[in-house]
Amino acid sequence: MRAFFALWRREVHGLLVAPFVYLLLGFWFLLNGLMFTYLLTYEREVQQDLGLLAPYLFGSGLLVWLLLPTFPPLLTLRLLAEERRIGTLEPLLTAPIGDAAVVIAKYLAACVFFLIFWGGVAALFLLLAAFGAPLPWGTVAAGMCGALLCSLLFLATGLWASSWGGNLLLAAGGGAALNYLLLFLPVLFEHDEGWLGAVARAAHIPNMLDRGFSAGLIDSYAVTYFLALAALFVYLAWVRLVSRRWVP
């Protein structure tokens, strides 16, 4: 366990001293700040009712369709792909620590670091409250919870894409493409009358965020969906790393 925490700390430290990550974080803050002020300044419906801010931001806006699918893979691309590219992955995998622990430590480090990303969004709400805005905090918290769970899933897909090889572009692009598939495929097939439609409706991430979390409702199925799929992609990343040893 001590080795696991040491590895986790090493990963968090690695993210903290990477200038690229700050660039990413800065852009995340900038784009969210722009979206936030746009909604408050130009979206008259939000001015009429601040209760719409959480659904617009966490439910159906640019955050879901643009920022959430692209930023997590950019953060995770260096976790495995870069280690492989600079040749530090093999020594790490031969170290006296389980392969699963390596993958989980890297994933958890990315998750913890992504909390800083969400901290920036929370800061925007606190800032607005400081200006005297009457905010529906329960709905804001639920919306943020949904977005956080969604980012856990997208970090896991990013980690899996990062395990494909040493190509950073493939890791980032592959992760983002996977995330967009997870977002778009259910939307394309949700009106199908058959089993495909049923599966699409059950896997409809925008609906889970828009009709559940950002409306203040936490659905046990949606929570399970995000966590189960995140676990699946972390597992797939582990399989990708260790499978070479299965065949001598």
Binding site: Q47, T139, A141, R211, Y221, T224
Partner: protein, 480 residues
Amino acid sequence: MIAGRRLRLGLLTLAAGLAGVVLAGVALQTAAHPGLRRRWDWTAEGSAGLGARTAAALRELPEGSRATVFLFPDDPRLSWNGSAVYPKAFARLRSLLVDAAVHARGRLQVEVLDGASPLVAVERARTRLAHQAGEVLVLETPARRQVLRFEQLFVASQPDPRTGAPARLLEERVDDALGDAALQLGRDRAPKVGLLGGAPESRDQAARELFEVLRAEGFAPGWVETAESLRDQDLLLFPGQPLPLAPSLAQAVEDWLSADRPLLLALGAPAPDGVVAAWNLRLAELGVVIGAGMVCQPVAGQIGLNRCVILEIPAHSLQAAHPATRALAESGRGVVLRLARPVRLGAGGGGHLRTELLWTTQDAWIDRYPDAVFAPGAERGLTTLGVAAERLDGSGRVLVLGSTSAFYGALDLALDRDLVVASVRWLLGDEDRAAGLVGVQSLPFRLDASAAARLSNLAVLALPGVIFLLGLIVFVRRRR
């Protein structure tokens, strides 16, 4: 050798991956089980989900039930000047219908149609359900259907063009309305609406259009041909009466009224004098008098532009205190009546509570029908066109309208549908209950220019700026 190794490696990786996918699928299948699924409400009011009564009613729905939601802003007044009415109401409906599907435990399939839905899907649903503007939610079982309009689900204030104040969502009763609809659909049988009278030449038309409206509201309409078949009905409806009733039917109708059973009577200006006189005798005890002639009024108060054939009754000429006309009056929608005759309050026996439902302007007058000549001695002024009466304990409900047009023709039915439906509901004791209304929290907030600039500077410049600066420091330190 290498190719064989790669193949084995690929197969093993694929098998391991598939095992993970299957495991995740099983976990999701289990989580989707209606009995295991839970929802937690984090809103301050704690009213984001459906109540226990509605949840229980939804669980009683038969297999194959469907809820189709049409989320289109039909009333431009509720969107004017950036109003949040529709976005907020639609967000609420989307969320509550997911809740409904969860509570129905697999018995309810929910389809949400909005501006982003494929046109084919919207048109298919509109055709299948004969959807009309203003209808938001259609709850249906394989046998029956309940249609809920926006006004039945939400109460919104009207916009004020003078001050620029947009409409605002004040209250909602989605939970109760959905519960009522599910309970009605879950009943063993739909309330029977028996139709008597009616112009023989327009029976087929009425049967098609009026029957469709009544069925959409969960009622079972049918023509009454004999006195025996009258006994099975829950409500007696006369959409006009061009001929006197056969003696056996006339006796059955009098027995019906004596038994305090509900009656909806519509007699327009063309109704024969003998028929009107017979009804005045029957309704004398209730204190309802059906007058003679055809009601006319100037169009928008302009002398010279008179309307006798078509009367437009605005919302402020509808009784806001009665369930039959309340929704129309409160939502600012009027009705259109053709060839109307006056219906007034009379002396009565004193045992009934009577309410005037709709009336003309002060400038109205009564012409003779059909020659449209002002009858000497005929009265002028405000004329009542509909009256509702009931006993003090709420039994013996009777509603009399001075026009039959609300029951015929697709256009009139569309215009006056709410009047017909609300009247039938009230007569059957299914009127909307104000108790189901829940206040909707509205949080208007507008930053003044300087505050908006400060917030914008902090959100767009200060916060990201600090991060970029930190990144620069890290970059410089690493280069050293």
